[in-house]
Symmetry: C2
Subunit: 228 residues, 2 copies
DNA sequence: CCGCGACAAATCCCATAGGATATGGTCGCC
DNA sequence: GGCGACCATATCCTATGGGATTTGTCGCGG
């Protein structure tokens, strides 16, 4: 337990179930726990060094996300997920995220735009410097701020779920993604400043679909959908 | 505990956390627990007659759905949800469900079409007879079968989430919904039989948006978004 | 009168133990 | 070899307890 607790920053650190949930997501997306794998709560508790209670809570959260499925009295299984599923999901994500960008283009005031520029600048700076951990976080904050600026609270949450399928730091290492991201952000910000919803939408959709392609390649590489 | 356990059919009955989750969803959508309401796990456990453990697991599942939000060390709150949120969510639902119908139009074989017709006939029969409980279940099965027929597993799950926002039996009582549903299903089945994706998509989108309007009216009626 | 700090009570969060129940495997039997 | 009954194992839930943190109250000083 010490290992897990110590990694979490204090303050308003998420509780244990949420951290266990994150750990399990990472292990699934890393190809460590592939679809069809049986998950035994007690076993996982021992592996993670916590009691069964928070593990079961985390598994319930993952079940609500259809990341795992519950087999009453038999445990849990990692939910099936193939290439077509990922493509479908990210098509939806791209559409919604584009819609949010378009709305933001019409709703942003000067202050909000300045905030977005600042966050984008942080991303650019980290790309220049090469700090992978903070870069993912900065990119996340940029998108979160943009989605929030759209004013569509629930849709913003919905697209935030896409992050559940993004293994940590897997795209920040790709040179292609870095250069594409800088360009996409600039196009996006220009469109937002100009109040041009269509361009903002198109730029954002392209940005998300780039991420999708990278994710598919990653899952391919770790043998995610090799038959069990 | 007896009350909850006895209501569940044996066999592959969902486990207790899932049933508690359902109960909480119903109470939220009934306007009993409005957005902003604090939820105390221990209190809920006493109210529902179960121990705190499955209640906490249910709350974690609801958190993953953004139905409630966790305040570390302080409990949980019912997540904010206003009219615009519901409209946005169901716009997305309508789009995706329409897409699934369009795909099904191209993928259905004779056997699958016959199965869908059978399920639609069940719905029609129950509408004639007037069995509200079974009707909701039959309607659910019809849509589930159609979504499954599209072949898009993950999108089918995603739209299945819309049911989380549908209070049980709230639309089966509406005469307007019944007549509209019979017509919508027929149009849908004809389009599927003819292999006409565009008509299928349009019919399905309209069907979902009808449900959305009913839901908004329901939430209105129970004072869901009256300020706290 | 109002803000503010300390103490007390309540509550959450997690661990642990234990019992009821269902599953899967194994052995004996036909 | 196929089939049905026992048995070990694991899940699921209950109950309990303790550590940690938040909230509410009280008293004090400004």
């Amino acid at each position: 337990m010490v290992a897990l607790v110590d990694t979490g920053l204090l303050g308003d650190a998420p509780a244990l179930p949420e951290r266990v949930e994150l750990q399990l997501r990472e292990r699934i997306l890393a190809g460590d726990l592939r679809p069809g794998t049986f998950l035994r709560p007690d076993r996982l508790a021992v592996e993670l060094g916590v009691s069964p209670t928070p593990v079961r809570e985390a598994l319930q959260a993952l079940r609500a996300d259809d990341m795992v499925r519950a087999l009453p009295r038999r445990g849990f299984v990692v939910a099936p997920l193939d290439r077509a599923d990922v493509v479908d999901l990210f098509d939806v994500q791209a559409r919604i995220t584009g819609e949010l960008a378009a709305r933001a283009a019409g709703a942003l005031d000067a202050e909000g735009l300045a905030g977005l520029r600042a966050r984008a600048a942080e991303v650019d700076a980290l790309i220049e410097a090469g700090e992978p951990g903070d870069l993912a976080q900065a990119e996340r904050r940029f998108h979160a701020a943009l989605n929030r600026a759209s004013g569509a609270r629930k849709l913003a949450w919905l697209v935030g779920r896409a992050a559940h399928y993004l293994p940590p730091r897997f795209y920040t290492d790709r040179r292609a993604w870095r250069t594409a991201t800088v360009a996409a952000h600039r196009t996006l910000l220009d469109a937002l400043a100009a109040g041009d919803p269509d361009t903002a939408r198109a730029a954002m959709e392209g940005h998300v679909l780039d991420g999708r392609d990278l994710l598919v390649a990653h899952l391919e590489a770790v043998g995610f959908w090799d038959e069990t």
